[in-house]
């Protein structure tokens, strides 16, 4: 740390630093801990970016493979390992999204949600499916912003850096994405009596 400060490098506190070092030494317990810590995050990221379980598994597996290869070469202090891993996984997701656009599929894009009819007693599993479908219909950049900030719980600075945009641009993407989601799921809110009451009180 002292050397880093002497060299004028801004050291970044990385909670994964010790784990990465142990992974690089081939410690089985560290490898397992890394899998437990990162694999669910990478799978969730890919699943929500791609909306496809099988492709998400492929991306998560490839991202972890790159993590194994990177660990012995990792130089701590320049970036967080988690942020680097997110960048790898996002690039893999965008490769696949690009390929999808190049190969036209039969899935019609941007259609109104034809999920279950509005019902106050909608099962949470069905609600989850509707939300996933609505997320999938968002423009890629809006979805990415929501996935990074809401689900992956990255800070606004980390998310903006990953997306190569300013924090203001990130906020704009987030606001537009969340508004589109709300509109897409508006029927759920109007079907819920409690929500209607609260909405009325809100004026």
């Amino acid at each position: 740390m002292f050397l880093r400060e002497q060299a004028g490098l801004s050291a970044i506190a990385d909670p994964d630093e010790d784990l990465v070092r142990r992974v690089a030494q081939g410690e089985p317990a560290a490898i397992q801990a890394m899998v437990a810590r990162k694999l669910p995050r990478m799978l969730a990221l890919a699943q929500r970016m791609l909306g496809d379980a099988s492709e998400a598994e492929d991306v998560a597996q490839e991202a972890m493979l790159r993590a194994w290869k990177q660990a012995p070469k990792w130089r701590p202090g320049k970036a967080k390992f988690d942020t680097w891993l997110h960048r790898v996984a996002l690039n893999l997701c965008y490769d696949r999204l690009r390929r999808r656009r190049e190969v036209p599929t039969e899935t019609p894009p941007d259609r109104p949600d034809e999920g279950p009819a509005p019902d106050a007693g909608l099962l949470s599993a069905e609600l989850g499916l509707r939300v996933d479908a609505a997320l999938k219909r968002l423009p890629d950049r809006q979805r990415e912003a929501i996935v990074l900030c809401h689900y992956q719980e990255l800070t606004n600075i980390e998310a903006a850096d990953l997306m190569s945009v300013s924090v203001e641009a990130l906020e704009s993407l987030l606001s537009r994405g969340r508004r589109a989601l709300r509109q897409s799921l508006a029927d759920l809110a109007s079907a819920n009596p409690a929500t209607r009451r609260a909405g009325a009180e809100r004026g």
Binding site: V23, G26, I31, L39, R48, A60, Y151, R179, A198
Partner: protein
């Protein structure tokens, strides 16, 4: 940035109603504003809270045992194993040993050269002395 109702609305619209997701630089000021203007702030954050609840309904994908095992196996395939670490250590010891052996050989050679160099004057004197001896008559020596 000034913290006011407008900024609270912007924050909620972008990051949601959960203040843990708000920018760290503005969080304290925002929490202060929300605490001081609870009713107004709650109204500003109502839509954001609804959207948060919807987003949270999306299930978090579960990692299957097959995927977990494949990823662990890929670590071994990528060359990460204690055996590899040991091999690196063993190689290091081997190189260190070889280094010591080379240094020892170099020492022996240097020592031999040094000895030759240091005794050369004495040997030259002896040769000159013997050359002078030739000029002496054998009878003088043998009597």
């Amino acid at each position: 940035m000034t913290m006011n109702a407008e900024r609270i609305k912007q924050l909620a619209e972008a990051y949601g109603a959960d203040k843990r997701h708000w920018p760290q630089a503005e969080r304290a000021a925002a929490e202060g504003f929300v605490a001081a203007n609870a009713v107004q702030a709650e109204r500003l954050m109502f839509d954001a809270r609804q959207t948060d609840a919807a987003l949270d309904a999306s299930p978090r994908p579960m990692v299957s045992n097959a995927l977990r095992d494949a990823v662990i196996a890929s670590a071994m395939a990528a060359g990460l194993s204690p055996k590899k670490a040991r091999m690196v250590w063993d190689r290091l010891i081997l190189w260190a040993g070889a280094g010591w052996a080379v240094a020892a050989c170099a020492g022996v050679i240097a020592g031999a050269n040094l000895t030759l160099h240091m005794t050369s004057d004495a040997r030259a004197d002896a040769v000159l002395y013997q050359a002078q001896m030739i000029a002496v008559d054998d009878t003088e020596v043998l009597g």
